[in-house]
Amino acid sequence: MPRRIVIGIRGVGHRVIDSIWRLGYASRFFTLTLLKSGTSMRRFSLIIRELYFTGVLTLIIILVSGLFVGMVLGLQGYETLQKYGAETAVGTLVALSLVRELGPVVAALLFASRAGSAITAEIGLMKATEQLDAMGMMAVDPIARVVAPRFWAGVISMPFLAAIFSAMGIFGGYLVAVVLIGVDEGLFWSQMQSAVDFRFDIVNGIIKTCFFGVAVTAIAVFEGYDAQPTAEGVSGATTRTVVTSALVILGLDFVLTSFMFRGVS
């Protein structure tokens, strides 16, 4: 019996030390990626190729889900607001919830599951098939050639994707509230414009998406680079990318929100 307890305690300790070790390794890897980005910036065509895979191919899911999120917000907001005779405020509700929270967060979650997992799987499989080692043999730095372009492509495309998501969602809210239900169009837009502030709402939302973009792609490239070079290891790394990204996005969102919207109504 005491032996089992000892094994249990040892297991907990091992896990804690292992995760701290991984965190340190991830930070070192992140710094290395930033230091070696200069070389990949000079070959911008590499980043454009990755922008196609992370940005353009994620566009469809962003457009469709943005539209539906906005439509649902419009419908639910109308149901509640019309009880108080404030159905024209549905535009304010849709715009503020999308621009401040849902746009950045949902777009980042979709980005992590669509593009982040693909980045991890690609880099992990390159490692498993020893392509990264082969590059090293040819004196091509795999971090500068493979990791940094993917990282920067993700960081660049994330704010654009979130902005497209928010704009699409507001269009969806407009479709439901104005076209379908018949809320007054002029009041819909003017109430929205008087409530949404450029500096406090829109710029803060963009700042959030920049943080999410860095976090998600940094996690994705690290998990891919750190994956066990087996089929099982790559699948595990892909799962870890999605789970860790989702947790980091939601946690980071709370921290950033508490910094940004404190004391401002």
């Binding site: 454009i48 902005a163 008087s194």
Partner: protein, 161 residues
């Protein structure tokens, strides 16, 4: 060949992203209707600002002419110093009256400016002399009860409304 189509798609993606940002800024946000660059500052001292918040609108005759930028407690006069930015297009006479009003019964509070008849105009950094503080519901109820009690007191039976 492959490279050019990819470039085209990435270009379209970047244009769509920038377009979405512009739509958010101009159509959804208030950047198109109000700019802080062409504005001047006025300060008003209020005995009580009630629930007035930073960024609350400043209205004159119901039209938004500016925003509240800052609310501070002044230790010199022991009242609230409210800094507001007014659009340069709107100039107000020196004896303009500023009062804190409520939109609707329970709505948000804003500053209402009522223009006076003075020839001189307020300049940037000027102080608004005549102010009227916010209505605080508790004070109003207290005053009402007090008045009722004193009226009844004349008739003899105090304590009953």
């Amino acid at each position: 060949m492959q490279r050019t189509t990819m470039d085209l798609w990435v270009g379209l993606f970047v244009i769509a992203g920038i377009g979405a940002l512009l739509i958010l800024a101009l159509k959804v946000g208030n950047l198109g209707t109000y700019s802080e660059a062409q504005s001047y500052t006025l300060v008003g001292y209020f005995e009580n600002v009630g629930g007035l918040k930073i960024r609350a609108p400043v209205k004159s005759a119901g039209v938004v002419v500016g925003r509240v930028m800052d609310i501070q407690f002044s230790t010199k006069t022991f009242d609230a110093a409210v800094t507001m930015k007014i659009d340069n297009r709107y100039q107000f006479p020196k004896d303009t009256f500023a009062s804190i009003l409520t939109s609707g019964l329970l709505g948000a509070q804003y500053i209402g400016l009522a223009a006076g008849g003075d020839e001189g105009m307020l300049k940037s950094g000027d102080k608004i002399m005549k102010t009227n503080s916010a209505m605080v519901l508790e004070e109003m109820i207290g005053q009402f009860l007090f008045n009722q009690a004193s009226e009844d007191g004349d008739g003899g039976d105090s304590g009953k409304f």
